[in-house]
Symmetry: C2
Subunit: 259 residues, 2 copies
């Protein structure tokens, strides 16, 4: 059984400050917890309600840690969902500080100030689908171990390395290696016409409200745009950040296999 103090600590993980004091985060629901169990992440607790466990007797048989029971009220306190799940895990936030990002022969995604957790999680999920190995988030992005981000990533956050750090050294590294830095803009080159084979490169996505910021803009070597096909005089001004990321990654990957 969990102590009151443990429950208190785990409940505090809803706040970013306590996630980094304890270096722990919450993973909710069966699908995400199953993906966590398949990953290399350290699992501290597997928490289940009695009701849920009784209807899922095979759960956790092969897990590194045994499931512990919590009451429905405790689960509700730990969960971020309006309908709390029957299963939830506490995992350790990985230390990516010393990870050297490899930029050669691959596309790497850089997120410049993405603040919406749902968008962040969806971008992580999409980048995983397209086989990316790293996402680098600017330090003012939403925390990637936020419960909503983890939820929306649908387990992808356990597969690719989502690293929060200053972007400058990454851009210097790309410049040193001669790797192009693409940015998503409203006034760039039509991505369908861009001649690159996209075998390698860095793709920078800014927030919907601010776009790619001044500090980052100077590192961009090619501005890319997704053409607007509307024939209305009053057109949509922009796309959602996760949608723009998906369309550009799709087009890069399509071109990369043609060569």
């Amino acid at each position: 059984m969990l102590s009151k103090n443990q429950i208190k600590i785990y409940t505090s993980l809803k706040q970013v400050k306590y996630r980094y004091i304890h270096r722990l985060f919450i993973v909710e629901g069966l699908k995400s917890v199953e993906e966590l169990l398949l990953s290399n992440f350290d699992i501290i607790e597997l928490l289940v309600t009695k009701n849920w466990y009784d209807s899922n007797p095979d759960f956790g048989q092969s897990a590194q840690v045994l499931p512990e029971f919590v009451t429905e009220n405790e689960m509700a306190a730990l969960s971020n969902l309006s309908t709390p799940p029957g299963v939830l895990a506490v995992a350790r936030i990985p230390d990516y500080d010393d990870v050297e990002v490899e930029l050669k022969n691959k596309i790497t995604l850089v997120l410049d100030g993405i603040s919406d957790p749902g968008n962040m999680g969806t971008i992580i999920r999409t980048a995983d689908w397209f086989g990316l190995k790293y996402i680098i988030c600017s330090e003012d992005s939403v925390d990637v171990f936020n419960q909503k981000v983890v939820q929306a990533s649908m387990g992808s956050i356990f597969r690719l390395k989502v690293i929060t750090r200053s972007l400058t050294s990454l851009f210097d590294q790309a410049a040193g290696l001669g790797i192009p830095v693409y940015g998503a803009y409203l006034d760039g080159v039509n991505i369908y016409n861009e001649a690159s084979d996209f075998q390698e490169g860095v793709l920078v996505i800014g927030s919907e409200s601010h776009g790619i910021r001044e500090n980052t803009h100077k590192y961009i070597t090619t501005k890319l745009s997704i053409p607007n096909f509307s024939d209305n005089t009053n057109k949509a001004e922009s796309l959602n950040a996760s949608i723009a990321t998906a369309i550009i990654l799709s087009e890069m990957k399509r071109k990369s296999v043609l060569f």
Copy 2:
């Protein structure tokens, strides 16, 4: 000044039942209200707080209806946002019952049981970007005049016709005209290799949890898939429904301009 009864009616529009009893819906925030003002939708009320109006003195000068003041509390009651906006409108739900959907020479989107309002709104915004004229939603989809859908559509819901009706007659119409019906599946033809020029067609997207349902499946003439580029043994199983829609529409539009 609004009467208590008006406030009561407008507040009730958060519930789908009352939206259709009154055939009214809520549009929140400056960006969405501005798009509403540019549209052909009937505007019943423009509601502003005193504070907001004082800092936006030019607002509503050319609007068909004069802004009315509401208190901050009334605005909070009407709003669906945790930070209520300073401006909000009540508009009439358009009657699309007799609209004949034109399928020739265009791509038309069909949504089969999309229940997440954020996804629905993002799909509408994306379809507008790619110049679509119609989206047809199955009757069990989330109501498209839900406040969260309207919010996420960022004004696009006022530009293309988003029609909720039984899908069967639409599929019969497509079959009668010899127009292909594409469906997004996990085991279809790689969209990058699909030989169609996509000058016209119906694209069906199912929900993430259930996919395209049995009743709809029989009308699909070509199954399309977005290839998974991950080299992990444990891969992401699917994409978010709005992401899949965006990638397929992008690829269709890219191909359509090549011809």
